[in-house]
C-alpha cells in the first residue's frame, strides 16, 4: 500500500532527522555555537560503529553504549579547548555565532581530513539486521525500524529530561535568556558547555543509527550538517519540540515527493518546505515571535 509505505518510510527518515537536529538545536540554540563540523562528528561516529561491528564483531546497539558517551566527552573537550576562549571574548551572542562558525569550519576540515587519511574516499557499509519486516502489508528493513525505535527513545528521553529536571529547565532558561539565567544563579558557561556536549552525544548516536542502514563516506558530513540546520531553523532555534516536529515533517515530505513525484526532486522539496515555513513563520514553527 503506497500511503502506508510513504508514512512508514517518512517517519523513519524523519525520526533520523529529528534526532540529528535535536543535537544541533542544543548546540546552536543553547550554547550559541553554530557547529559546522556537526556532520563530521556524525560521520566519525558512523565510522566508529563500522569498526566496532566489523573488527570487534559488536552489535551497533552495543556500540551505542560506547559511542554516545564518547561523542559527549569529545564534544565537551572541543567546547573547553576550542570554544571557551571564543565564549570568553565574545561581547554578544551574535559575535560568538560568527566566531564559532569560523572555528568549527576549521574543525570540519581536521575531522574530515583524519577520516580521509584513515578510511579513504570510498563508501562504507555493513550488514546488520537487514531482514524485511512486514507491517500491515508494507515491508520495512528491520534495521531501519530498530534505528527509528532507538531514535524515538532517545528523543523522548531528552525531551522529558529538558522539561522535567532542574538541569533541563536551566538549559531551557539559558536558551531563552542567558543574561537572566545568571541572575538565578545558573553558571551559564557551564550549562552551555553541558548542552553542547549533550548535543554531541545525540549527534554521535545519530551517526551510529544511520550507519546501520546507510552507506557513508568521509565526505558526507556536510549533508548531515545542512539537513540538521534546515530542520533546526524550521523548528525554531533552541526549541527541542520544534526540531522533533520539523524533522518528522521533513521526512514525510521528502518521502512523499520521492515516491509520488520523482526521487530527484527530494532536495528541491526540502528547500521548498524550508522556504514555505520561513515565509509563514520566520522564526520557525515553534520559534519565538519578534526576535
Amino acid at each position: 500500500m503506497l500511503i502506508l509505505d510513504i508514512v512508514l518510510g517518512g517517519l523513519i527518515l524523519g525520526g533520523m532527522y529529528a534526532l540529528v537536529a535535536s543535537g544541533l538545536t542544543l548546540q546552536y540554540g543553547v550554547a550559541r555555537i553554530m557547529n559546522l563540523a556537526y556532520g563530521e562528528v556524525l560521520v566519525a561516529a558512523a565510522f566508529a560503529s563500522y569498526l566496532l561491528v566489523t573488527a570487534a564483531a559488536l552489535s551497533p546497539l552495543f556500540g551505542l553504549v560506547f559511542i554516545l558517551p564518547a561523542g559527549f566527552l569529545a564534544s565537551s573537550l572541543i567546547y573547553r579547548v576550542l570554544l571557551v576562549p571564543l565564549v570568553r571574548r565574545a561581547k554578544t551572542r551574535e559575535a560568538l555565532e560568527v566566531d564559532s562558525i569560523l572555528a568549527t569550519f576549521g574543525l570540519l576540515f581536521v575531522v574530515q581530513g583524519l577520516a580521509f587519511v584513515l578510511f579513504g574516499g570510498q563508501y562504507y557499509s555493513y550488514s546488520y539486521l537487514s531482514v524485511p519486516v512486514t507491517i500491515a502489508g508494507s515491508t520495512v528493513p528491520a534495521n531501519r525500524l530498530l534505528a527509528f525505535a532507538v531514535a524515538a527513545v532517545l528523543a523522548v528521553g531528552i525531551y522529558a529530561a529538558l522539561m522535567r529536571t532542574r538541569t533541563g529547565t536551566a538549559i531551557r532558561a539559558v536558551a531563552v535568556d542567558p543574561a537572566s539565567a545568571r541572575l538565578v544563579g545558573i553558571d551559564v558557561q557551564r550549562v552551555a558547555g553541558f548542552a553542547f556536549a549533550l548535543g554531541g552525544g545525540l549527534c554521535a548516536a545519530g551517526g551510529v543509527l544511520v550507519s546501520m542502514f546507510l552507506t557513508f563516506n568521509a565526505a558526507m558530513g556536510v549533508v548531515f550538517t545542512m539537513k540538521a540546520l534546515v530542520v533546526v531553523i524550521m523548528g525554531g532555534v533552541g526549541n527541542l519540540m520544534g526540531a522533533l516536529v520539523a524533522g518528522l515533517l521533513l521526512g514525510l515530505v521528502e518521502t512523499s515527493v520521492a515516491r509520488l513525484v520523482d526521487p530527484g526532486l527530494t532536495l528541491a522539496a526540502t528547500f521548498g518546505l524550508f522556504l514555505l515555513v520561513l515565509l509563514v513563520k520566520p522564526t520557525g514553527l515553534f520559534g519565538r515571535a519578534g526576535r
Binding site: R172, L183, G185, R288
Partner: protein
C-alpha cells in the same frame, strides 16, 4: 548585611559611577533616588556584578567579602537582583520561572516552603502558575520577577524600577508587597522613579547625581527636605512664578 564601598564604573571614557559607598541592613528598605542617567541602574548592576566595576571596590555581604564573585555565585551568597525590564523567562511558565529562582543550592532545600510564601505574597500568581510568563500583564510579570528573586532565599534584594510602566493601583500593590518582604528580614535596595511612593515606604534613602552619592539620610527626614522635595517630588522652587488662583 550589605556593605559597599569604593564602587566605580566606567563605560569607555564615561565615568558612570564614582567611588560610591552605601549599606543596607536587615529588614530595611533603602531607596536610591536620582535623575535619569545619574547611574542608578549601573549601581545595582555593579553590586550584582553584571557590569564590570573598577578594581578597589569592596562588597561585603553578611560579613563575607564577595567583591570578586561572578554574578551567578553572588546569588548563591544571598544577593538577588530584579533587573530593569524584569528579566523573566518569557517563554517559560510562571511555575518554571519561580522554580528556576530556587536553582541556587542555598534555596533548594526550602524550595516548597519558599514557593508557598511567595504565592502568599502574590496570590495572583497562584492562579497563573501554568501560564506562559510573557502573556501576562506588566504588573504580573513584575510579581513573577520579584517572586523569582525571593525564591533564591536572598538576604538582600536589589530592585531596579519595579513600578515602571505599572498602573497606580498595581504599583500600590507592589509597594505593599515590598513592605511585607521587609517584615521577613530581607534587606531591600530599591531604585525608583516614583520618589513619593518609595520615600513613603523606605527607611533610608541615598541621592545620586552624575554617578556620585550626594546625600543620604532617613527617608522621613528627606521627605521633608525642601531641596529633595524640589528635585524629586516635583515641587516648584520657592519664589518661582506660581499660577495665581485668584
Amino acid at each position: 548585611m550589605l556593605e559597599v564601598s569604593g564602587l566605580s564604573v566606567s563605560y569607555g571614557l564615561h565615568r558612570a559611577l564614582e567611588d560610591v559607598s552605601l549599606g543596607v541592613g536587615a529588614a530595611e528598605i533603602v531607596v536610591i533616588l536620582g535623575a535619569n542617567g545619574a547611574g542608578k541602574t549601573t549601581l545595582l548592576k555593579a553590586v550584582a556584578n553584571t557590569v564590570p566595576a573598577e578594581p578597589g571596590r569592596c562588597v561585603v555581604l553578611g560579613g563575607r567579602d564577595v567583591s570578586e564573585l561572578p554574578a551567578h555565585l553572588l546569588v548563591e551568597e544571598g544577593l538577588a537582583l530584579v533587573p530593569e525590564g524584569r528579566g523573566i523567562f518569557g517563554e517559560l511558565t510562571v511555575r518554571e520561572n519561580l522554580l528556576l529562582g530556587a536553582y541556587p543550592k542555598r534555596a533548594r532545600a526550602g524550595e516548597a516552603a519558599t514557593l508557598e510564601r511567595v504565592l502568599a505574597l502574590f496570590p495572583r500568581l497562584s492562579e497563573r502558575l501554568g501560564q506562559t510568563a510573557r502573556t501576562m500583564s506588566g504588573g504580573e510579570q513584575q510579581m513573577v520577577a520579584i517572586g523569582r528573586a525571593l525564591m533564591s532565599n536572598p538576604t538582600v534584594l536589589l530592585l531596579d524600577e519595579p513600578s515602571l510602566g505599572l498602573s497606580p493601583l498595581m504599583s500600590g500593590e507592589l509597594f505593599a508587597a515590598l513592605g511585607r518582604v521587609r517584615e521577613t528580614g530581607i534587606g531591600v535596595l530599591l531604585v525608583e522613579q516614583n520618589a513619593r511612593r518609595s520615600l513613603a515606604i523606605a527607611d533610608r534613602a541615598y541621592l545620586i547625581e552624575t554617578g556620585r552619592i550626594v546625600g543620604e539620610g532617613p527617608a522621613a527626614r528627606l521627605r521633608d527636605d525642601p531641596a529633595v522635595r524640589r528635585a524629586y517630588l516635583g515641587e516648584a522652587a520657592p519664589g518661582a512664578a506660581l499660577p495665581s488662583h485668584a
